[in-house]
Symmetry: C2
Subunit: 396 residues, 2 copies
């Protein structure tokens, strides 16, 4: 599959090599017009009737299904809304409620901190002696014991790009009587995911990274069909009610995945996301994966030759890798600032990770080679040593 | 104060009298250009650096302060994010944690159902014998006893427009040792609110109704300064962490109101909201209130003459009224459909409420008189009896 066509579907700034699509995907060319339509023709002209006439109310399910199709999830098992942290809370609360006799949430130190924080907040609120047990990524499999209520893991490590074996860990969890919750933040649009074959119980993710839905795009949640009508919603908002517009005094959960909706969806964000999903319609995930691995291999090779001492943080084995390449450098922050000053945008993750998203939809071999050359030059000439690269911004 | 200037700041469709700004405010004229700038110049050009360079990360606090200024809240006590249901959950969870020895959440039957649902979900999760006690609106004051942990009330009833006496109920709550949580969904931008003088402990609201922030605009939460550094965040997401970008393994709540942030904010929605708040900069809330009451009185008078039997659901006393006028009619749904077919947009709320938002920013005396004439005609000629007005849409 040739990705020059998808590259043409994005607005990429001149002179920039964008290796941070794992943090915020770029602007689809169709987004501006689509958002403008939602603003002027829908909000402006339809006003309140847009909820029906423009389909706003249905959009979290309609777009949820389109994301589900990328993840091997059946129709009606994915819905959009809120942020990933909120969706993790919903999944975890439902899972703990399904396993009342077990007290351990098992996660790993490669999980995104917000997932751990949400678990900590939930545990404090429940006040029932739950424990968040955090082990090293490579120790997760052995730590799945009969104490575990829920395994809560981000499939691809946000720092290193290390990828867990979702089907194997899920199978082990099930074998021990635990449920498996997967955070797909760095998987959706990055690697082939099959939630059905992988037998995940719950999954969540965000849509502004590899899916390119735009800054603040809504999160998604998947609930396996066998749990969807019994999962108890902790965040029991009106749009998850069986009949939201009956305005009953008592909550009754909606059918299936609908119960995971909470409040009013972010209509403008969904308009942007829709144009991003249009691009995904034509993409073969297996071809994308092949291209991603080839670009990653190229980046590693191009750095190894001039900088043999640079520490690769990402596993080289394809099966253990997501769609990013990370290196460790003691001056990682300043190195990244020097890169950005030269038009190569990646990001830094404390304490020492240089992180580069590999996104074949709009990044080519030439981009990767050029970025590698610039990085090698910065390291070779210690260009990171300039004072201006050591100033810290609010968001790094 | 003359509101012809503010009316000019909105795009209102031709031939429509829009009396549903209490459900979704209309489009500010400046919004389309502002959103387009965020999409093309910020997302498109700045990409990930927009979080700092375009101020996206600070926006929930910056806009929160601007909303706080409309509500008598000091700088640094209001932050944007999520939906109103989620913010209610946060406020209620924090309040219950502050009153561990009391088990009653007191609310009323005029509260928006989602608030009640969120309380029910929280209670089920806590599983500590809490009770949601729901009384009639006029019985709230007497029901505030020493059993009550938190009073959770929507100031203005979404159906009837009845307004509670916030300072009096809050004072009674405090007298009995309870905390007061106020939902300002139908207050913010509708009536003068003074959270400081009213001594509210927590307050939440949405920004897409009277504030005109657009479909899916984020909610806001206020925490009184004396609680802000001790309130425990149930939804302990990374952006509420003391140092989000340190990526620590353990959650430590941020300073003050910042801890009520959860996940990535909805950047496009905030751009729209910003233009709506620009309009509010020039508005005198006391003048707005005076105009709102006059328009409401006019609507009541114009309906009473031709339809003396129509039941007014809104209290006539100014002090007990928000900024909407509601009537009860047994065929309310069909009456509203007949009105909408004639260009008068209000909404219907089950079981029998015809609800009309009174929004002097863009609604004039002529609009109100014209709407009243059309409604009188529909009732007089029983035009609601046509079959096409009895079809139910998904969202009503």
């Amino acid at each position: 599959m040739d990705f020059t066509a998808t590259r043409e579907m994005f607005d990429l700034p001149e002179g920039v090599i964008y290796l941070d699509g794992n943090s915020l995907g770029p602007l689809p060319k169709a987004a501006a017009e689509r958002i403008s339509r939602t603003v002027q023709d829908e909000w402006g002209e339809m006003l309140i009737t847009g909820w029906n006439r423009a389909g706003w109310m249905a959009q979290p399910s309609v777009l949820g299904d389109r994301i589900g199709a990328l993840l091997g999830a059946p129709t009606g098992s994915v819905v959009l809304g809120d942020t990933l942290s909120v969706k993790i809370y919903q999944a975890l609360a439902a899972a703990l409620h399904m396993c009342p006799d077990r007290k351990v949430i098992l996660s790993d130190s490669g999980n995104f901190p917000s997932d751990l924080y949400m678990a900590q907040g939930l545990i404090a609120g429940l006040d029932k002696g739950h424990e968040l047990r955090v082990v090293a990524p490579e120790e997760v499999a052995d730590a799945i014991t009969e104490e575990v209520a829920a395994l809560m893991i981000t499939e691809v490590d946000y720092r290193t790009g290390r990828r867990h074996d979702m089907p194997a860990l899920t199978a082990k969890a099930h074998d021990k009587g635990a449920l498996a919750i997967w955070d797909l933040a760095h998987s959706a649009g990055a690697v082939p995911v099959d939630l059905t074959a992988g037998k995940a119980d719950f999954a969540c993710g965000c849509t502004y990274k590899f899916l390119n839905g735009g800054p603040g795009a809504p999160a998604f949640i998947y609930v396996a069909p066998q749990h969807a009508d019994t999962a108890q919603p902790a965040l029991s908002g009106w749009l998850g009610h069986e009949a939201p517009f009956a305005f009953d005094a008592d909550y009754r959960p909606g059918q299936g995945i609908e119960r995971m909706r909470v409040g009013t969806p972010a209509v403008l964000q969904m308009a942007a996301l829709e144009t991003a999903l249009d691009i995904w319609d034509g993409v073969d995930m297996q071809a994308l994966r092949k291209a991603s691995l080839a670009l990653g291999d190229l980046f590693i090779a191009e750095m190894r030759a001039p900088c043999p001492d640079l520490t690769l943080a990402t596993p080289e084995a394809h099966a253990m890798r997501g769609s990013q390449i990370s290196f460790r450098h003691p001056q990682g922050y300043a190195v990244m600032q020097a890169l950005i000053a030269r038009g190569v945008i990646g990001d830094f993750r404390a304490p020492d990770i240089l992180r580069f998203g590999i996104t074949p939809l709009y990044i080519s071999q030439d981009d990767v080679s050029a970025a590698a050359k610039i990085l090698a030059e910065i390291l070779d000439q210690k260009l990171w040593d300039r004072p201006e690269y050591h100033k810290r911004a609010a968001v790094t």
